[in-house]
């Protein structure tokens, strides 16, 4: 009997001690649960990684002749060429030759390609059809590995034999259907994406210092 009374006294003392700090303890509990991810929706699914259907296609002829740049002379086919071996010290930002696939940009007179970069990004390559001194220049840019999902694009201007001409080309992931490109005169143009590729050839340069162009669709 005496021990039961003692137990009851201990319990009521514990209640008196805990009551004032109960709200604080509850708040701490909620915070810990949230940090641990307890607040995440149960039905959440991880987003699918970006993909490029054009990269997965069969290795058809690319229209790029692989050459040794030191062998000299013009391309045996008269078309654009590409070094058979990657140069050293590119820091990995160079297209993997076996992954190069031809694109079909809607803009006539242009040839373009997509490739994986050795560093993990995605690359776009462009030939504007102009040969200078018998040499065809292929322009290229590769995204950073972190930028793989954002695509890659380049802008080419001051092209010999094409005064005032500005050419842009890019690759974007599956699901993107159009690109809106702001221009230097304040207007903008929308280019259709086909097979991961878009291109533009015009006289108006894009807006200076423009950030990644807006993507619509997808």
């Amino acid at each position: 009997m005496g021990s039961r009374r003692g137990q009851s006294r201990r319990q009521s003392r514990l209640r008196r001690l805990l009551l004032p700090v109960a709200p604080a303890l509850l708040a701490v509990g909620f915070a810990v649960a949230s940090l641990a991810g307890g607040g995440a929706p149960a039905a959440a699914t991880p987003a699918a990684p970006p993909a490029y259907g054009a990269l997965e296609g069969p290795a058809e002829p690319t229209g790029l002749t692989l050459v040794d740049p030191h062998s000299g002379g013009p391309s045996p086919t008269g078309g654009p060429t590409w070094p058979a071996s990657p140069p050293p010290s590119t820091g990995g930002s160079w297209p993997v030759t076996s992954s190069i696939r031809r694109l079909k940009p809607a803009t006539s007179g242009l040839q373009a390609w997509i490739a994986r970069s050795a560093a993990g990004g995605v690359c776009v390559m462009l030939y504007d059809g102009q040969r200078v001194e018998g040499v065809a220049a292929v322009d290229m840019s590769c995204s950073t590995p972190e930028g793989f999902g954002g695509g890659a694009s380049i802008e080419v201007s001051e092209i010999p034999g094409m005064p005032g001409r500005v050419i842009e080309a890019g690759v974007v992931p599956d699901g993107v259907t159009a690109m809106r490109i702001p221009l230097a005169d304040g207007s903008s143009t929308t280019q259709t994406v086909s097979g991961n590729a878009w291109a533009r050839s015009g006289s108006e340069p894009p807006a200076p210092g423009s950030e990644p162009t807006a993507i619509t669709g997808g």
Binding site: T65, G73, S143
Partner: protein
């Protein structure tokens, strides 16, 4: 005598083989060079088949080969751009700053 002749032939062939092997190398002709907005920085007159530009910060860099190619510009800061030829030429690689403010770039050519 025959062995000596054979050895000479083999050594000669090995030397010819080595001489015929192309060995590309990269030269960083500009490191963290500042270029004013819209300006150019020209490299040395050399034999080259690639001109590459890589930028720092938020500047947009471009690469070109004087008199041979157009100027190819990155559209996202931090991405490298390059002009690639199928055979080497004698010319100057150059960096163009496509931004409206001074930016810093590295310039490479491959020879």
């Amino acid at each position: 005598m025959r062995h000596k002749y054979l050895a000479t032939v083999l050594v000669t062939l090995a030397c010819l083989g080595t001489a015929g092997t192309s060995s590309a190398s990269a030269v960083e002709w500009a490191h963290h060079v500042g270029v004013g907005g819209g300006g150019n920085a020209f490299g040395p007159f050399v034999r080259l088949f690639v001109s590459e530009t890589a930028g720092y910060g938020s500047g947009l860099g471009c690469a070109g080969i004087r008199g041979i190619s157009g100027v190819v510009c990155e559209t996202n800061p931090g991405e490298a751009v390059a002009v690639v030829l199928g055979s080497d030429v004698s010319s100057e690689p150059y960096i163009h700053n496509h931004s409206t403010f001074e930016s810093f770039f590295n310039g490479f050519y491959y020879t």
